[in-house]
Symmetry: none
Subunit: 251 residues, 2 copies
DNA sequence: CAGGTTTTGACAGGTTTTGATTGAAAAGGC
DNA sequence: GCCTTTTCAATCAAAACCTGTCAAAACCTG
């Protein structure tokens, strides 16, 4: 492998993960630790990373400058995300809605050969340079802060589309169905549901029983729901009655 | 095999993969390493690639990649970008094509109240959280490395659009017109030209007289061209004859 | 076809990169 | 505190790579 190519990829890896160990890099690139050490020294010299004992950390502007990484309930979301990602098979076409949980799902999908469709800028940033993933971005009016594309352009793009699975999260769930916080967002998500053969929803148990501003869809529109274990027997039967397959992630 | 054909294909390969090793090229084309070395030297001379130890890397309009962090032509690009940004008035609608120069333009636009349309992921990242800027992203197949959305989805989104100005850069300029390095990209850029009332092109003087793989449009399609000062009298008249207003940026 | 030019492959000599080794420095356990 | 483990910087020989050169081959051109 070429010197510059290796350094480039090392840099990308560090940008993505925040921190990478020397040992891991050496193994990954099939190079000696001496070599990786010299690469890190170089990247440190040009100010792109900061060396630390045992590895290196990223210093530059964060690509995913958004909130994330500091949100609460992260481990729970990661568990759910991992469970969802495991059920997605190589070669499939997946539509990823915006949101921190779906971003975690995207992280877990790295490495699998897939066709990914999304309207989320952070997810696009994460996946754009993954060699195995063919990435299609749904354009539209880019909503600040969340970085999600909405509006008529997004609707038009989605209307002619067919995907196997839609992965989305939700703001609240009642017996009536799913809710989210924003009307524009809900409009777009309805289009997504129409475009998908199966609708998979990530929902931590806190969302149950809570509604939100905008009604999205009935429970019956959902194919599978991934929740953490703290879900009452009551809810389980309600979901089952609506035809939703419930997957409970282990602790 | 013909020399020029081989060089073209080498260039294409490098553009596709980002990095290619000398050894791989020699094997692929059944030529000696000396020959490939000379080809790379030539392509480096005309600025299409950058030689690295053991092979070569693409220097075109990369953004996410590490290349960019070393290029020397940055101040020049920044001067041109600044000149363009100054001519854009508050409240206008601007379509920004992908590329490092247009990214610099975007940087200079921060703070102005504008409606910005783009198919470039890096530009979207830069502007998504700017309070005064309403950002619309053209979706499509997201091309790796450059982070530009192309393909039929992009074409569809552009076809129903009207903007005041298109800002784009180019890979090469001859009397016949403008060129760029990639067929898919050129298709999309033609749509952009159709959607815009005025077409503004950023072009450093090195691009003049050089063609690239794919033909884009005649000179007459361009409204204004922004170049740095080193432009021959000959070219100035050629451009003027084609009806292009030329703006030369000061040193 | 002869004479001249360009391109090609091979090779020698010099430079850069690499991986192994070694002793020193830092971190962690007890 | 003291000892063990891990990490680091420095050094060095080997390998990989580059530059420049040269003669042979391919290709113009008249």
């Amino acid at each position: 492998m070429l010197v510059d190519q290796r350094r480039d990829e090392i840099l990308q890896l560090i940008e993505q993960q925040g921190f990478v160990s020397l040992h891991e890099l050496a193994e990954r690139f099939g190079a000696s630790e001496s070599t990786v050490r010299r690469d890190l020294e170089y990247l440190d010299d040009i100010g792109q990373i900061r060396r630390t004992r045992g590895g290196a950390a990223y210093t530059g502007d964060h690509i995913t400058s958004f909130e994330e990484r500091h949100t609460t309930a992260l481990p729970q979301k990661q568990r759910i995300a991992k469970a969802i990602a495991q059920e997605i098979l190589p070669g499939q076409t997946v539509l990823l809605d915006g949101g921190t949980t779906t971003l975690e799902v995207a992280r877990c999908l790295i490495g699998k050969p897939l066709q990914v469709v999304t309207n989320s800028l952070p997810i696009a940033n994460l996946l754009v340079n993954q060699p195995n993933i063919e990435l299609i971005f749904i354009g539209g009016y880019l909503y600040p802060r969340t970085g999600v594309a909405l509006g008529s352009l997004a609707a038009a793009a989605l209307s002619g589309m067919q995907v196997e699975r839609l992965i989305m999260s939700t703001g609240g769930i009642t017996e009536r169905g799913l809710y989210n916080s924003n009307t524009l967002l809900v409009d777009c998500e309805r289009q997504m549901i129409d475009a998908a053969q199966e609708v998979w929803v990530a929902a931590d148990s806190q969302k149950f029983g809570r509604s939100a501003l905008a009604y999205l869809c009935p429970l019956s529109a959902v194919t599978r729901m991934f929740v953490d274990c703290d879900l009452s027997e009551n809810w389980r039967t309600t979901l089952a009655d609506a035809g939703v397959t419930v997957s409970v992630t282990e602790h």
